[in-house]
């Protein structure tokens, strides 16, 4: 399973302190409706270490953590906590085992004070169900001091910053006696200074004997704070390495897989004039400028691959391009039309097709029929509707066509969309957008969640669309996919395109350097 070259056995700085690891997974497997999320995972987290878990989206990190925290149960394999096999069937059980988890989205009550939030669920009481406020404040004060952090126990959670809220979450776990802490992408919500503070806290917790497992995307951060790093890919453990023995290159390569796995899908690409042009686009969300002066053009008969670590402005860029978000400044042109301020319908009429990242939530209506979902977004087009009246026969024909050519497995086109499995729902959305004969196709992570066969099929469709003259903007955090398809590759980092390559000239390690911010500065070889 794990590659011999990168496996480190018997490692961990805490080895001397105690024999049995804090957490040990043996052959843990978890399947969802036919998809293997975790495949024979072997993982060992030593007591008193900071253990990072990295991998692409969908690699199985969250599933694994959910099983450690009792939110999911393994189908096979066993989990040992401090050497004892345990069945963690609920978060309550996890807490009993002194395992705590800080979720990406905080679970705090905004109206309550810091102290109230920390004791919530395990309040010191004075009998008769009354809260012993002083005792609560005192306990929290002690905890915060021991943690070396200034935190006002009487402040209301909604009034304090995100970094402090995160500290409240961590204190909550300490208050319940947890000494194995799971942090799910703790840096995603923080600004750089807060990240530094968080790392200081993590080091201190480690010094106090706590064990920390944390999920992260930024490899620089991981190397900074972790003792050991375990890489997951496609639900499997690729290997565990000592942070001191490795670098971003090695970890990135482990994450995305070896270049030898790639098979470029060749078509008859004859790149034409620009179809989509984006000039100096800026999008601010919640006070953060997430797209920061981005320039981009995608040409007719071209697949432009946008590579980047998630959270660098891709989602916001797509929203601005589709018309779901309003840019602060900048211009967007499709063919000859300026669409900067146009709404979605106008853009769709101008020739935009859009495969949303979250296809179940934004790409379809589960309660409605397969037929109806087959024309969603194209409902105002002939022949599906004429003068405001739906042509149910034409809609049914389209649905049957899609089901046939995209091999969507359905009980019947007259069945509701929720009767389809996840993969088939995806295919329906993909097929519908391909079939809208667009000028520009924006595909956000089009193969996420698909198996290898379906992925290959979608790749083929993307190439065919390109060969027919469509401009394709492919957003993907999967570098294999970008390198397999893109005629040009742009790397997005901190809301800007920091480098562009010709598809055939880009290499995975070079892209990785730009993606993780290890190398910056504009480079344009395309």
């Amino acid at each position: 399973m794990a590659t011999e070259a990168t496996e480190v056995t018997g490692g961990g700085p805490a080895e001397a302190r105690r024999r049995s690891p804090a957490i040990e997974c043996r052959g843990v497997t978890r399947r969802y409706a036919g998809v293997v999320a975790n495949d024979q995972i072997d993982l060992e987290v030593a007591e008193g270490e900071i253990h990072a878990l990295v991998g692409e989206n969908g690699a199985g990190k969250s599933t694994l953590m959910k099983m450690l925290y009792g939110l999911e149960q393994p189908d096979e394999g066993e989990i040992l906590v401090r050497g004892q096999p345990q069945v963690i069937d609920s978060p309550r059980k996890a807490i009993e085992l002194r395992i705590g988890m800080v979720h990406q989205h905080f679970m705090l009550v905004d109206d309550f004070t810091v102290a109230e939030n920390i004791v919530l669920g395990a309040e010191p009481s004075r009998g008769g169900g009354r809260l012993d406020r002083e005792a609560a404040q005192q306990r929290v004060g002690e905890l915060a001091r021991g943690f070396g952090t200034p935190l006002d126990p009487d402040a209301r959670v909604e009034d304090i910053g995100v970094g402090q809220q995160q500290r409240v979450e961590i204190l909550k776990l300490l208050y319940r006696g947890a000494d194995i802490l799971i942090l799910d992408e703790p840096t995603a919500v923080l600004v750089p200074q807060e990240v530094e503070e968080l790392f200081d806290h993590m080091r201190q917790l480690k010094a106090d004997g706590h064990t920390i497992i944390f999920i992260a995307h930024s490899l620089d951060e991981v190397l900074q704070v972790a003792d050991r790093i375990t890489v997951l890919r496609d639900g499997k453990v690729i290997g565990t390495v000592q942070a001191v023995d490795t670098d971003t290159h090695q970890v990135a390569e482990m994450m995305v897989g070896r270049p030898v796995l790639l098979r470029r899908v060749e078509g008859k690409a004859t790149t034409g004039e620009p179809m989509l042009q984006v000039k100096d686009l800026r999008v601010t969300v919640g006070g953060k400028e997430l797209v920061a002066g981005l320039d981009l053009d995608v040409r007719r008969s071209e697949i432009y691959g946008l590579a980047g670590v998630e959270g660098n402005g891709q989602a916001e860029l797509v929203e601005a391009l589709v018309g779901l978000a309003t840019p602060d400044t900048g211009r967007i042109y499709l063919d000859d039309d300026e669409l900067t301020r146009a709404d979605v319908r106008t853009r769709r009429q101008a020739g935009l097709a859009y495969i949303p990242e979250d296809r179940q939530a934004r790409g379809m209506v589960l309660q409605m029929l397969v037929t109806e979902n087959s024309v969603l977004g194209q409902q105002e087009r002939e022949p599906f509707s004429r003068r405001g009246l739906l042509d149910l026969k034409a809609i049914r024909r389209r649905a049957v066509e899609l089901v046939r050519s995209f091999r969507v497995k359905v009980p019947s086109v007259a069945a509701p969309a929720y009767a389809l499995s996840g993969g088939n729902q995806q295919k329906l959305v993909l097929g519908r957008e391909f079939a809208s004969s667009p000028k520009l196709l924006i595909a956000a992570h089009p193969t996420r969640g698909l198996d290898i066969g379906a992925t290959q099929f979608v790749w083929q469709e993307l190439v065919e669309a390109r060969d027919e003259g469509v401009a394709v903007l492919l957003i993907s955090s999967n570098l294999e996919e970008i390198l397999a398809l893109a005629d040009r590759v742009g790397v997005i980092h901190d809301g800007r395109i920091v480098a562009q390559f010709r598809g055939t000239e880009a290499t995975m390690s070079e892209l990785g350097l730009y993606m993780t911010g290890a190398r910056s500065g504009d480079e344009d070889v395309a």
Binding site: R31, A33, G34, Q73, D75, E76, V322, L324, D343, V344, R345, R347, R348, Q349, Y354, P356, A361, R362, G363, M364, V365, L366, Q367, M368, E372, L376, G377, Q379, E380, S385, G388, L389, L390, L392, R396, V400, V403, R404, R407, V408, K409, V410, P411, S412, V413, A414, A415, P416, Y418, A419, L420, S421, D451, G453
Partner: protein, 396 residues
């Protein structure tokens, strides 16, 4: 812990074109309809059982149960005027159900139907008594005025929602209070009938001109062989209500507008990327809801009382919520639910006449029906979801 059998991954499924193209097989379709009917039927049965228990507790006698059932049945359906009464009484309830349902379809909860119909009726009454014109002009104008009044009252919460994000539940409730106050103010002031003779002047409008009155359906029914009293309260508005229900059903199923309405109601997050202009749809849905609400009171004002009176607020708007729920927001279902509630009303009059069971028992019955229907739908929904999930797993 169960260990799943290791199975090789299934081969890429070849869809059978025929099967996909065909409609659902008949067996499945009938099963689907059965499931749709299951919830209302189950809830009616449960409501009846609880109703019986209530009667037993109130009257301390089992024989009263059969008396009540007999009285409701024979008086409710077979009294000389019962059919006319049921159809007439169902008319405003059908309009009310439709008004609530079209907002529901867009994911909006219009609790303001009550106020919207009051204002609509007020507008219609004004046009009805104030102006004179030949019937072909005057009556349609009066009806349009009613719809316009309802739309006006619905437009306020709609605008507040679109431009200020105010939740429609709160703003429509508030608008109900305002409507009530406006009604009181105008009926005891500017719109009060000045030509009342003797006694204490009633707070009511002048009579509607004959050219704006809508005809009774009694002569028509009596030609068909019925024997209704001339005063039986059924007018041609009943036909309008049925037509409205048909148009509603066609709009929801067969038009692009209805399609977009349903997408917005079922998954607003998918509506946006599909190019559906959510704000415009919210406006349209609320205005249509208000227009339908404006029709609710017109039978009473233009056909039965022939004027607007202070006792006018009769709770049709709130009942409409129950009708829409019971009728599953479908045109046919709403007509059926309207008729059922109307029958219960009629039956309760029979209780007062031939038993000593308080007629409030039927109100209890109606309340229980509404409660059980909500629960039964949820139960059936979960059953269906589970079944679907199971089938999906079997396929996977």
């Amino acid at each position: 812990m169960k260990v799943e059998e290791e199975r090789p991954p299934p081969p890429e499924p070849e869809p059978q074109a025929e099967e996909a193209a065909a409609r659902l097989p008949w067996g499945q379709r009938i099963r689907g309809w059965g499931l749709q009917l299951l919830a209302p039927v189950v809830s009616l049965v449960i409501a009846a059982i609880i109703g019986i228990l209530v009667i037993v507790v109130v009257q301390r006698s089992w024989s009263d149960v059969s008396d009540v059932a007999g009285a409701m049945w024979s008086y409710g359906l077979f009294n000389r005027n019962s059919v006319a009464f049921i159809l007439g009484r169902a008319t405003p309830l059908i309009f009310a159900g439709l008004a609530v349902a079209i907002a529901f379809k867009a994911g909006l909860f219009n609790i303001g139907v009550e106020g919207q119909y009051a204002i609509g009726a007020l507008c219609a009454a004004y046009v009805g008594y104030q102006f004179s014109a030949p019937t072909v002009i005057h009556l349609p104008l009066t009806i349009l005025a009613g719809m316009a009044g309802g739309m006006l009252w619905a437009a306020v919460p709609a605008l507040l929602k679109v431009y200020r994000g105010a939740h429609e539940v709160i703003s429509t409730i508030m608008m109900n209070f305002v409507a009530n106050a406006v009604l009181l103010y105008l009926l005891s002031g500017a719109m009060k009938d000045p030509n009342q003779r003797g006694g204490i002047a009633q707070q009511q409008t002048p009579p509607i001109k004959p050219s704006a009155q809508v005809g009774s359906m009694v002569p028509f029914f009596n030609k068909l062989g019925f024997d209704f009293r001339g005063s039986a309260p059924v007018t041609w508005f009943f036909v309008l209500a049925v037509v409205a229900a048909i148009l509603y059903a066609l709009t929801v199923r067969r038009t692009r507008f209805g399609f977009e309405l349903r997408v917005l109601g079922a998954n607003p997050r998918a509506a946006e990327p599909a190019g559906i202009r959510s704000n415009a749809m919210v406006m349209k849905a609320m205005l249509l809801s208000g227009a339908l609400a404006g029709l609710i009171g017109l039978q009473d004002v233009l056909g039965i009382d022939d004027r607007m009176k202070l006792d006018y607020i009769r709770g049709y708007g709130f009942t409409g919520i129950a009708i829409a729920l019971l009728g599953r927001n479908s045109g046919l279902g709403i007509v059926a639910a309207g008729l059922l509630f109307s029958f219960l009303d009629r039956g309760s009059s029979g209780l007062a006449l031939s038993t000593d069971v308080p007629k409030e028992v039927t109100d209890i019955l109606k309340g229980i029906i509404i409660l059980t229907i909500v629960i039964a739908y949820e139960v059936v929904r979960r059953m269906t979801a589970r079944r679907q999930l199971r089938e999906q797993h079997e396929r996977a």
